[in-house]
Symmetry: D2
Subunit: 358 residues, 4 copies
C-alpha cells in the first residue's frame, strides 16, 4: 500500500504542498468517455480554499492540466494524468516547523520515517492539498458513474455539536448546491466555525455520504468488500479518524430484530429492503439499496494558539510552537466534495473489478 | 481486492462454512520463527463456539493442521499454509435459505453476484467461520510481534447499552484472560445477551483494541497508512459496520486545542504525547504512542424470530423465514481475539513493508 | 512478487518438496464451472514422475484433494484450493546437501536469503515438485478455456541437438497424445536422454507451445502485455532460462519486410495475417492469430557425477558432492504439460482482466 | 498488470506519442538520494533520436521536468514524478494509419481492444517514445545502484547477422561510451543498418546486458524471481520478442556436467562459481555472480516499402499502406540504455522488496 489505490482502476497521487505540481495518474479508466471539463472545474472549486470568510485565505486556482490519456477530448485507454501547478506557496510561513513538529500533524512520524529528508513545507506529501488531485480523479469518476445512473452526494452531518438532519437511508435526497439538507443547520455551523476562529482554535465534524443507483453484487468477499474499499480510500483523506456504514456505531445498541433489513419486491418488481441499517452493503457486497456512510473529521490541528512541542535539535527541553500562516479553522465544508470524489473512485473500481461494464 | 490482504505479508483465506476445510496461506512471514503451537490453540479456543451458555451450540474443534512453510517447527521462508477441517456441519439446518435470503446476510447480494452457483450453506465463504483461519494467521503474527516487544489486546467496550471502562489511550492496560477491564461490566453484559436470547433476538457491541510497543514511522502515506490498513482488514470481519481511531467520532465535538496531542520528551528521552486523541497515528504514520481503535459489530442477523423476506423462485409475494439451527445471540465476545488477530496481521505487514526488520 | 501470480485470476502456490502437502489457492476463477476431475487427473499424470525408463523412479501419486471452492462439483465464487499430499519422500537421500550446496540449484542463494532456516530437503519450495499444483490450477484453466474455444498445446521442439518439426505459426496443429509432432523425433530424443543417463549426466531442451482460438485485444499495455504475463509465469517453472515469442531470437536476423505480418480478411471476413512472426502478439496485445512461444529448459542440475562445491561449515577448502537419490536425466518431457498449464493461467488471467467474460 | 511495474519500487508510466507530455511517477524510491541531473540528461541523450545518420530524423529534446518528489535536490519519500513535453510531433505524418493498421504494430489489436477511441497518432501509448520516461526512472535507479556498488552495462551483441564479442559471464567488462565491446563490430553494424535503410527496410538485433556487484539472495521464489521480474519489464520495451539468461537457449544443447556452475571460495573468501551459465540466477534468486541476459529486438515494423493491410472502414478488399514520416531502420542502438534502465528498475525493486536496504 502507498500513494496508490485501486485494483481495476488504479490511481497514483503525487506531489507535495510546495512541489512544482501535484497530480494524479489513473490507469484503467473506461475508454471513450468525454469528460466535461467545465463541470470538473466547478467540482474542484467546491474544494478550493479562499471561499468565504470561514476558510483559509490561501488562493490556489485549481486548474487541472491534462498531460496524457485524452485524444480529441475523450479517454483513449492510455493512462490519464493531470496536474495542478502550485503557484501561491509563501514558503516562509513554514519556517519553524522543520525544527519543531506540529502536534497532531504528520511532521514527527514523517521525520522518524524519512529522517530530515522529508519535505516538511506545508505538510509535504501529507498536506490536505493532495485532496485536489484526488478530486480530479474522483470528479471524472463521478461524471462517468452519473452517466450509468449512479449518483453520489454528501452533506455536513455535524460540525462540533451542531447537527444537520441525516439522510433517509432508504431514499436519500442528495443535496444539490448546498452543504446541508437543512439550510438553518448550515447557518448555525458557520457560527460555530466563526466562534472557533475567534478563539484561535478549530473544530471538526462528520460528513455523511449516500450513493444511489447502485445495483446489487458489487464488491469482492472478505477484504475486497465495499466497506473495505471505501474505508481504505476515505482514511487517505487527511483528518479522517472514523468511518461507519449504515447505522454504524449506532447499530450496536439495536437488537437484531430492529437492525435487520427485511427484503420485499417493490411495485416495479425490484428487490428492496424495508429499512437500510446495512447502508446498502451486506457481507461486503452491495445490496442494491443506497450505500450510506459517514466519515469523522478531527478538528484542524493547525491552530494559532501556542502549543507545547519538542525540538529536533538534540535538546529535550519543552518548546513552544506558534503556527503562523493561513489555516482553516474547519476543513469540513471543503472536504464534502473530497468525500464524494473518494467514494466515486472506490465504487467505480469495484464495479470495473466485478466486470459489470467493459 | 478479494480474499487476499497485505503487501509484504500476504494472506489468502479460503474455505466455506461447509467446504471440506477452511484455511489460510501466508506468503512473506519472517523466516526462522518457531510458533508456539499450544499457545496458538489456546488463542483459537478464545474464538471457538461452544463456550458457555451464551454462545452457539455448534462445536467445531479448531485444530489447525500446517501443510507447508515449516521445517523442524520453524518458518523456512516458503509460504505457510494451515487448514482446519470442517467436521460438524449439520447441513440440513440451512435447507430453506437457498430459496429465501436471510435479511442482513450476504445471501441476496451473493446470489446476484454469483447466480445460484454460490455456496449458501452456512453463509458459504461469507460465514463467520472464516475468522478461524484469520485467527491462525493473526495468532502467529501476535506471537512474532510479542517477541519484538509489540503487544495487542482487545476488550469488549460495550454490548448494547452496557459499557466497560475504556482504555487509557496514553497507557492502556491490556487485558489478560478477561473480556472486559471491569469484571462487573462483563456480568451485566452477559445479562444483556441472555435477555436478547430469551427474546429470540440478538445484540451487538463495540470492541476496543490497543497496541503497545509500536515505534514511530510505520505505515505508508495516503492509502497505505495504519488506519487504511487496519480498516481494510477489520471490515473483513463479518458484522463490522464501523471503525474509528483514537478519539474517533468523538473528536468531532472537540476543539483543536483539546484534540491536539502535544509532544514532550519523557524521563528516558523518548518522544511521547501528553494525550493520545490520535490513537497513535498521525498522517497515517504511527507516532510511537499506543495505537487505539474501535470496531462496531452489528447485532447478529440470524435470529429465530420470523422475518419478512423474498423468494428466489420467481414469485414476488412476501415470504416468511424462520431460521433454524444454532446461532449466537451475540458474537462480540468471540470476536475479541479476531480483532486482535486482524490488527496483528495489518501491523506486521506495515512493519515489514517499511523494512523495519528483515 | 512472490509465490503469487495474477491480477484478476490470482493463484498462490504453497508447499515444499518434503512438507506435508503442496497445493494452490485460486481467487477469481469463474463461477459455475464444473471441472472434469478425471480429465484433470489424466492431465496431472502427464507430469508425474515414474513414467518409463527415462524418468525418475520416485512415484508420487498426484491425486488432488479439493479443500474449498466447489459446491456440488462446480465453482462457487469462493477461493478454490487443492492440495496433494507428499507421501514418498525418502528424506535421507538429501542428507549431505544441507552442508554442501548443489551447483546450479537454489541451495546456495536460498541459504544466503533465508540463512540455515530454509527447507533444503528436495529443494524445498524451489523443487520441481511445485509444478504439480501449478498443473492443478492450469489444468482447470485449460478446461475452462477449451469451453470458450481456446486450445493450448505444447510439444518438445528439441532435446539437446535433436529437433522436432516446429509449429506452423499461422495454423499450428496442436499435438494430441504425443510429445512431438514427428514421432521419429521422439525416438531420437529418447536415445539422447538414455545416452545422457548412461554417462551419469543430464540434457536440456526447448518446449514450443501454441494457443489457438484467441481473439484479438487481450493483454494490457507496457508491463501487462501477453508476453510480459506469459514470461513472468514461465520463468516460475524451474529450469527455464529463456522465453521467446513468434520468430523470437530468430527474427533479429530478418529484415522488417520479411518479419512483418501483413493483414488481410479471410473468406469468412475475419482479420488474419499472412505470416505470424509476431507469434500472435503485437504491442503486447493479442492479434487474433495463434500465440506461439518457446521456453528453454536447462539440463537438470542434479547429476550423479561428482561435482566441485563448497561447504557451509566455515571451511573454504573445496568439497566434492555426489548427489544420491532419484533424479531425472531430462525433465523436458514432464515439463510439456507444465508449460501448457502456465500458459492457460496467464491467458485466462489476461482475459478476465480485460473483462472479456464475466 | 498494466502500465505499472514493481512491488516495493512502483513505477507508473503515462503518456502517448502525441499527448502533451509523457512521464513517469515512482513510488517507493529510497529517501535522501540526490540525483545527478546532468548525468541523467547525458543518459537520456543516449536514447534520444536524431543522433547520426542511421537514426530517425525526429528531434525531441528530452529534458525531464521534475514535478514532485524532490526537495532541495534530494528525494524526500513522496512519489517522484517527471515529465517530458512533446514538442515536435508532425501529426500529419500519421494520417492514413487511423484507417489502415500498420503490420506488426499495435494498431490493429489496440483498435479491437479500445475501439476507434484509442490514440493512434505515432502509436499512441504503445510508441517507442514511452521508453523515454522508462529511462528517467531507470536512470535514477542506475545512479542509486552505482552508489551501492552495483553496475549495469549493455552492448549490442548483434545486428542482423553481424556479431560483437559476448560478455565473459564470469567477469564481464562493462562497456563505457561504446555500443559494442569490439569497435570493429560497430563499424560493420552501421553498414548493415545503412544497407537496410537504402532498401527502405529495417533490421533487428540482440542486446546483451550484465550486472555486476550483485550480492546473492535477491529475488523471491516462483513468480517473483530475478528472471521473472527482468522479463516482465523487458517485454515492456517495444520490439522485444525474446529474453534469455546466462547461457539461455544455448544451454539446451549442453549436458548438465557442462552447464552446471561449480562453487568455490575465491582468494578473498567470497563464494563464486567457476563458470556462470546460470547468468547469476538460480532458482530465481541471485547467486552473487554477475547477472547476464539478452533481449531480442525485432526489426522495426515501420518501413517505407508498400505493405499489404486492411481497412477499418467496413470493406474487406486488400489495401496498400505506405508509411510516411521519419522512422528508424534500426532501434537497437537507441535501445541499449533502455535495457540498462529496465534492468536497474527491476533489480532495485527486488532489492527493496528483499529488505536489503531501507
Amino acid at each position: 500500500m502507498s500513494s496508490q489505490f485501486g485494483t481495476a482502476l488504479k490511481i497514483q497521487i503525487f506531489g507535495q504542498s510546495h512541489a512544482p505540481a501535484i497530480g494524479v495518474s489513473i490507469d484503467g479508466f473506461p475508454v471513450g468517455f468525454t469528460p466535461d471539463m467545465d463541470a470538473l472545474k466547478t467540482f474542484l472549486a467546491r474544494r478550493a480554499p479562499g471561499q468565504g470568510a470561514y476558510a483559509t485565505a490561501r488562493k490556489e486556482p485549481d486548474k487541472p492540466e491534462f498531460l496524457s490519456g485524452l485524444v480529441e477530448g475523450h479517454t483513449c485507454g492510455a493512462p490519464l494524468t493531470a496536474i495542478i501547478r502550485n503557484t501561491d506557496t509563501r514558503a516562509k510561513d513554514y519556517g519553524n516547523i522543520a525544527e519543531m513538529p506540529r502536534p497532531s500533524h504528520a511532521d514527527y512520524p514523517a521525520w522518524v520515517k524519512y529522517g530530515n529528508q522529508a519535505d516538511y513545507r506545508g505538510g509535504g506529501h501529507f498536506s490536505g492539498r493532495l485532496t485536489a488531485p484526488l478530486c480530479i480523479a474522483g470528479g471524472l469518476c463521478l461524471q462517468y458513474l452519473a452517466q450509468k445512473g449512479i449518483h453520489i452526494g454528501a452533506h455536513i452531518l455535524s460540525i462540533g455539536a451542531v447537527h444537520d438532519t441525516a439522510f433517509d437511508p432508504v431514499s436519500p435526497a442528495l443535496p444539490v448546491g448546498a452543504l446541508t439538507l437543512d439550510p438553518a443547520a448550515w447557518e448555525k455551523m458557520q457560527e460555530e466555525i466563526a466562534a472557533a476562529k475567534a478563539e484561535m482554535d478549530s473544530v471538526g465534524g462528520v460528513i455523511e455520504c449516500a450513493v444511489t443507483g447502485v445495483q446489487a453484487g458489487y464488491g469482492e468477499p472478505m477484504f475486497g468488500g465495499m466497506e473495505n474499499r471505501l474505508a481504505q480510500i476515505l482514511f487517505g483523506i487527511p483528518a479522517v479518524k472514523g468511518v461507519e456504514f449504515g447505522a454504524g456505531f449506532g447499530c450496536t445498541e439495536l437488537r437484531g430484530s430492529q437492525n435487520n433489513d427485511p427484503y420485499y419486491y417493490d411495485e416495479n418488481g425490484f428487490v428492496r429492503t424495508r429499512t437500510n441499517h446495512a447502508g446498502g452493503i451486506a457481507g461486503g457486497i452491495s445490496t442494491g439499496m443506497p450505500i450510506v456512510f459517514r466519515a469523522a473529521f478531527k478538528p484542524t490541528p493547525s491552530i494559532a494558539r501556542p502549543q507545547e512541542t519538542i525540538r529536533f535539535n538534540g535538546t529535550t527541553a519543552p518548546a513552544v510552537l506558534e503556527i503562523k500562516g493561513r489555516h482553516d479553522p474547519c476543513i469540513v465544508p471543503r472536504a464534502v466534495p473530497v468525500v464524494e470524489a473518494a467514494a466515486a473512485i472506490a465504487i467505480l473500481d469495484a464495479i470495473l473489478e466485478g466486470n459489470q461494464w467493459s
